[in-house]
């Protein structure tokens, strides 16, 4: 009897042992993934378009956790904008180089007469140079914001790039004020002479005389100069408005408005820079005698007759022609 009892205990023990072994072995057919059908982040974003909630921080805008438009904007700012800027600026430089090598400097065909006529008064030159010098610093510091990290940082290292970028940002933000003042003054000073008219249509049809040796007539400002005027006024106005919106963040708009302001500011700026490169070219090496207009304020009479014949007629009709001493020009 005792031996039978031992046999039973042995049998039961063995069965329990086998059961424990079997239960401890993972059984693939029964494995469950508890999160298989739960909502994924990507689904959530697509459904809701933005993720936001309640926050105790006073600035309620911090309640927006993620918005897909932000990623689109980041793609624009890091990729698209750099392409636009690169093509516009490098493309303009390439065009100017090719043009200079083929057409060369537009020469004063009848040579200098030695007599001058006042073209721009001191105040006009002051306003132009204030706006222009601010523009140069704004352009360089602005390009640093877009291109500095990929192009300049590898060359000069983190310490130098940080220091330079801090000063560039301060310069950009503070010089925007005299630049804006200059744009407003330019608009007011020269609006009278920059209204397009029939003479400009004819001037444009003849290509401004830029190709060949044509000298289409023009008043004080030819069609090319009027184009630059309106680019400065409208472009300058656009970058000023969007720039101040960026400088005083969220005063006027939410995050979408700030993104739009940055897009407008950056695109207009890089195109503005390309246009100003052409303006600088034609006013310096592109045309003989042109720089005098903004340099000393007086231009050679032959230069004036060749490039602004109708303006010279008006000026000479006002009084005796000016010699080497400046003659005051009547206000426009």
């Amino acid at each position: 009897m005792a031996s039978f009892g031992r046999f039973i205990r042995l049998a039961v023990g063995a069965c329990v042992f086998l059961l424990v072994i079997a239960a401890s072995v993972p059984c693939n057919a029964q494995q469950v993934n508890p999160t298989a059908s739960s909502v994924k982040e990507q689904q959530l974003l697509q459904e809701l378009n933005r993720i936001q909630g309640r926050v105790s921080i006073p600035d309620q805008r911090s309640g927006v956790l993620e918005q897909p438009a932000g990623r689109d904007w980041r793609e624009f700012r890091n990729v698209t904008l750099r392409w636009i800027g690169g093509i516009a600026i490098l493309g303009m430089i390439a065009v100017m180089v090719i043009f200079y090598l083929t057409r060369g400097m537009v020469r004063l065909e009848s040579g200098r007469s030695g007599r001058t006529i006042v073209r721009f008064r001191a105040f006009e030159r002051f306003v132009h140079w204030m706006t222009a010098s601010c523009f140069i610093v704004l352009a360089i510091s602005g390009l640093n914001i877009t291109f500095g990290r990929p192009l300049l940082l590898p060359l000069i290292g983190f310490e130098a790039f940080s220091e330079w970028s801090q000063w560039a940002k301060y310069a950009h933000n503070y010089l925007s004020f005299p630049f804006t003042i200059g744009v407003v003054l330019i608009f007011l000073m020269w609006i009278a002479g920059n209204i397009p008219n029939k003479v400009d249509v004819e001037w444009l049809k003849r290509g401004g005389g830029i190709v060949g040796h044509d000298h289409p007539p023009a008043y004080r400002f030819n069609a090319g100069q009027k184009a630059i005027y309106w680019i400065v006024v409208m472009g300058g106005g656009a970058v000023a408005v969007t720039g101040y919106e960026l400088m005083f963040p969220f005063y006027l708009s939410g995050i979408e408005g700030m993104q739009l302001a940055q897009i407008v500011h950056s695109v207009v700026s890089v195109l503005f820079i390309a246009a100003m490169l052409a303006h600088i070219y034609i006013g310096t090496i592109g045309m003989e005698g042109a720089f005098d207009a903004m340099g000393t304020g007086e231009v050679d009479l032959n230069w004036a007759k060749e490039h602004h014949s109708l303006w010279v007629e008006e000026e000479l009709a006002k009084g005796p022609s000016s010699g080497s001493s400046p003659r005051p020009v009547a206000a426009e």
Partner: protein
């Protein structure tokens, strides 16, 4: 030349003047966004701010 130098000088004076004015009327975000209910603390020392 005089007009050009006067222009540079005026631009520099205007920029400095604006910087003084703005620094006087603007507050750093840790001050501006602190209320009785939530204190936005010291942002740290690795940022460019009024003391940096």
């Amino acid at each position: 030349m005089k007009a050009f130098l006067a222009a540079l000088l005026f631009a520099a004076i205007a920029a400095v003047g604006v910087s003084i004015l703005l620094n006087a009327i603007q507050e750093p975000s840790s001050v501006a966004f602190t209320t009785g209910g939530a204190r936005v603390g010291d942002p740290g020392h690795n940022l460019v701010g009024p003391n940096g």
